[in-house]
Symmetry: C2
Subunit: 425 residues, 2 copies
């Protein structure tokens, strides 16, 4: 006669179970893993019921299926806080130009860069976009990502932007990864408005943003509205234009993000704080006053080291100063066809430790619970706690530090989303 509760699945005997419990982390708290030796997780209906020592969990629960994680690390599925997931074509030729000395902003000014992907994306059918994006999601899942933010921004006309949103919406429903959509109509100034970012801003504010809101409500009902985001940068949108876009977005109910201080130091991070944005992303060239402002705020600092790596640009975000200032620091891949075609968040963590001196534990927190906060989902994903989605990764190693210590490979032995194995498929 057992008094144990029957559940669907127990994952047990993990050499290291990292729960990441206790919410988003900052300051001296940053890097707290909730490490349990010989740990277990009990799961029903895709949700976590308990996480703790194997002995305790198996004393309270009995499962139809058991998964022996001995010799392995079990940790939350990775959350990729910043991706440009949907696009057509590639920019391999432009990569060669950059190796030969052309800068990212020079290529953009010459009609390449984002504008080259814009032409290919506008010309692509919804199904073609779906197909190429699905392949990227599969590779992300293989490397342990179970939640990913996904931006529009390669259409920059209403028709193509809505096509990108439809692709994102179909992939939200299809799975296997949880997707958080972002409308990035303000990614660049499109050819129709060349030289007149103010007029394009007016178009976004008066036409595109209300249309996107209505489209979303008609198609997704009460599902949370997408984020809106602005590329606030020399050659893209000035702070005053960014403010107009974010202000209008806020009035319409969109939560906010901003591309801040990637190449310029525009004070966009401070604008993010003022506007109550959920995150400010990139921050490679953020100034001291803006670091302090971010440190006092609840706006998450999303760092994207794969981008300077991809560009061979030695200027990485000042992660140590941001951590010392108390900012909530998260990681993302910035997956995109121009500067960072990288679907492997394990590599992003390994890079963050080397290029920005995160500890391996901080890198893990930045790519799980803090990244969940950056996409507004820390109540649902990013840690292994009762009531959260049962999203987790089994690593084929006994010490989580191998994620950062080793690089270029894939240590994920198996990846689960809502209690179901999504990789290997």
């Amino acid at each position: 006669m057992s008094l144990r509760t029957r559940v669907d699945l127990i994952v047990h005997s993990a050499t290291q179970l990292l729960t990441l419990e206790g919410g988003p982390q900052r300051g001296t708290d940053f890097g707290r893993l909730g490490l349990i030796a010989d740990g277990a997780v009990a799961i029903s209906d895709g949700m976590i019921l308990a996480a703790g020592p194997s002995k305790d969990v198996r004393g309270r629960y009995v499962a139809a299926h058991e998964l022996d994680a001995s010799g392995k690390v079990v940790l939350p599925g990775f959350v990729d806080a910043h991706t440009h997931l949907v696009w057509a074509g590639d920019r391999a030729a432009e990569f060669e130009q950059r190796l030969a000395g052309a800068t990212y902003m020079e290529i953009l000014a010459a009609g390449g860069g984002i504008l080259s992907t814009l032409r290919e994306t506008r010309a692509a059918s919804e199904d073609a976009l779906l197909h190429s994006t699905r392949a990227r999601l599969r590779r992300m899942a293989e490397h342990g990502t179970t939640t990913a933010e996904a931006k529009t921004g390669y259409g920059l006309d209403l028709e193509t932007e809505l096509r990108m949103l439809r692709v994102i919406r179909r992939l939200q429903e299809e799975g296997p990864i949880k997707i958080i959509p972002t409308f990035l109509g303000a990614h660049a100034v499109p050819p129709e408005f060349v030289g007149d970012p103010g007029e394009y801003t007016t178009f976004l504010v008066n036409e595109a943003l209300p249309a996107v809101r209505d489209w979303w409500v008609l198609n997704a009902g009460t599902d949370p509205l997408p984020f809106t985001d602005v590329f606030c940068e020399e050659g893209a949108f000035a702070p005053e234009q960014a403010r107009r876009i974010l202000q209008r977005s806020s009035e319409l109910g969109f939560p906010l993000k901003i591309h801040a201080e990637e190449f310029s130091s525009f004070g966009a991070a401070r604008l993010a704080v003022e506007m109550g944005a959920v995150s400010a992303d990139h921050l490679n060239r953020i100034q001291a006053a803006d670091i302090a402002a971010l440190g006092r705020s609840s706006t998450v600092a999303v760092l994207l080291p794969a981008t300077p790596f991809g560009l061979a640009d030695p200027t990485y975000a000042p992660a140590q100063a941001l951590i010392e200032a108390g900012a909530i620091v998260a990681l993302g891949s910035d997956l995109n066809p121009g500067t960072a075609w990288c679907e492997n968040l394990q590599f992003v963590m390994a890079l963050a430790c080397r290029a920005m001196r995160l500890t391996p534990a901080q890198a893990v927190a930045a790519a799980t619970i803090n990244a969940a906060a950056a996409v507004g989902c820390s109540d649902h994903v990013g840690s292994l706690e009762p009531g959260k989605d049962a999203d987790f990764v089994l690593l084929e190693v006994e010490d989580y530090r191998h994620i950062a210590y080793r690089f270029g490979g894939n240590l994920a032995a198996a990846v689960y989303r809502q209690g179901k194995r999504i990789s290997p498929g």
Copy 2:
């Protein structure tokens, strides 16, 4: 009635076939891919009979099995010119110490680094070493490597060094990757000789090298002797000790390699040229005169960018100066438990383009035909030419530049060694 020759396998319709024909590359020749659009390869008995346009190859040959490579790049299997493949244990804790500021040479001086792996390797059984090494070979093969050099050097006593050689020998026979052995008794000064590298050098010259030669002849018959190699570095072996070791090695018939100018500028590359070494490896801090000497020689410059990346050391080898001087430049992973646990040569190529400004085409040549030259095998592997081993990779892309443009993932759809698929297994 067909006049076509019957073969075992034809790989056809490759969007890009890269033959890398014509031998090791240097100077303005470096980066010559032998690119054929809609290319094919005819294979019998694990050997290449022909490589060329699909129409020509299929006009001359008919095969029992055909492999359709449409939409894919086909190129030679990658050759990893420098690995420390065989070891026990890991150094994840030391990685954390380095992030906190300890240098590689400080850790070595404190009994960590190579000496920590030495203790674990001496304590490991032959089967335990075989097991952990086999897992690394499997991951290398998954990423497209079909030939790898493999060094001893974590025993530094005769018993353990010969155990490492037995492991390498067993894996040579077992496959799936072609392995080129190197005896690196001069990797560090072992605890028994601490503070007396001269005395340890005498031991190597008088006892270890002759014993290794005899062991090899008894166990491997007429198979080529291993390379010998010396870590010529402050804290390891001085140039005069390196010269004694290489001189004696040469007398015994060993081909030569040298670890040169990784942290010090000892002129070890010039010593390599003087001694007729097949390669000089690392070269991060090589001086101008030594670059010139290497450029005029047939000693291959093996560059290992994963190591400075792994160490977060911004000093990469001066690849452009070496190329301009006319050196034969090759790439390797330097796979090892201290500074570069990286089994993915695709990542090494992507890194080489960014950190050392190789073009994608140069990176491919450096990891195939030139790496084959660095391990003395350019007559057998490293290009797709008649008479060579049928070692090749199918990439799931239509443009070879994606190897360098993208990073952190694995573009290999299938990997073949001697005409047999070795991955996916």
